[in-house]
């Protein structure tokens, strides 16, 4: 009994004080941490590959007019999986190490928009080469003009 308690006491005492000084001293993540995804507007070609693979469906493609495509990222529901950065053919998206994302101003702070000049790329379905047959563009739900509910012959009306 006593030896057991002593062993436990040693177990507690040996490591000493371990508490980190955070937030007064930074404690940055090691390795390739998947933090806030940043989009480089200059590199983006507007292919929509990121919107296709995003599991949280947080990236929406809007075609405003013939020449402008808007990429709206609702990072409030981003799950930081990094798939968008993986598939981006131009490496326009990078997963930064930023994780101190708290805000008191509402979730609008987490919205990121980017307007891309498209010219002819609208009819180019080949800018984006998916890494596997399972990632190809066939999902209509991520384009705001093709949002539809259920099947084509679903009895439920759109809300």
């Amino acid at each position: 009994m006593i030896t057991s308690k002593l062993r436990e006491a040693i177990l507690c005492l040996r490591p000493g004080r371990v508490t980190l000084k955070y937030p007064f001293e930074p404690h940055d993540p090691e390795g390739d941490f998947r933090g806030y995804p940043e989009l480089d507007a200059d590199k983006c070609i507007g292919c929509g590959g990121c919107a296709t693979v995003c599991p949280a469906r947080a990236i929406m493609i809007q075609d405003i007019d013939q020449n402008t495509r808007r990429i709206v990222r609702f990072l409030e529901r981003c799950i930081y999986c990094g798939r968008c950065a993986d598939v981006c053919p131009e490496d326009a998206i990078t997963m930064t190490k930023r994780f101190e994302l708290s805000t008191d101003q509402g979730r609008e702070d987490m919205v990121a928009e980017c307007e891309v000049f498209m010219a002819t790329c609208q009819r180019c379905g080949q800018c984006y080469k998916p890494p596997s047959a399972l990632d190809k563009i066939m999902e209509p739900g991520f384009r705001d003009d093709k949002l539809k509910r259920g099947g084509d012959d679903s009895p439920y009306e759109p809300i």
Binding site: T19, C44, F99, E100, L101, E115
Partner: protein, 165 residues
């Protein structure tokens, strides 16, 4: 105004009540992690309490499921005024990966007024500490909404006609 009131009302010690409204447990575990030796939130006088009636702060994790809505409303009413609501995790902030599921109402702010948002899936314990420290006025907000535009006259942003289909 509300923020100033909060700063006056909570100068020293925040007692927090943690509730799960449909969460996967990831954020819950990280909230407990914040109390363990490496992060030790009790340095700031933050204490996890067992009853909402003792709490100053409501930590909400998870997307709000349809079944949990009445319970969450009653829970909020049970916390005495003035109170702070902190939404932890991408689910609580914006509904997360299931935002449009039939049984999910959405982020916590569709039901309750939320004062602080801590995104992340799950947020690191450091990120939770940072958010709570922000409520205590110790740290600053770092993010804001982003609006980017490609310049229309940039020649290199025009794709080559020959590459198109």
């Amino acid at each position: 105004m509300f923020k100033k009131l909060c700063e006056k009302a909570f100068p020293k010690s925040l007692w927090v009540y943690h509730c799960n409204v449909g969460d996967c447990n990831g954020c819950d575990i990280e909230v407990i992690d914040v109390l363990t030796p490496y992060y030790d939130a009790e340095r700031f006088g933050i204490k996890l309490v067992a009853s909402p009636r003792h709490a100053d702060v409501l930590l909400v994790c998870g997307p709000v499921t349809r079944q949990v809505v009445p319970a969450l409303k009653r829970l909020y009413d049970a916390v005495p005024d003035p109170k702070i609501v902190i939404a932890i995790g991408s689910c609580a902030v914006g509904g997360g990966i299931w935002f449009d599921s039939y049984n999910i109402v959405g982020g916590v702010d569709t039901i309750l007024p939320v004062d602080y948002y801590i995104p992340g899936c799950p947020p690191r314990p450091e990120a939770i500490l940072y958010g709570v420290a922000m409520a205590l006025g110790l740290t600053e907000k770092q993010i804001e909404s982003v609006h980017l535009k490609q310049l229309l006259d940039r020649p290199e942003s025009v794709p080559m006609e020959s590459e198109a289909r």
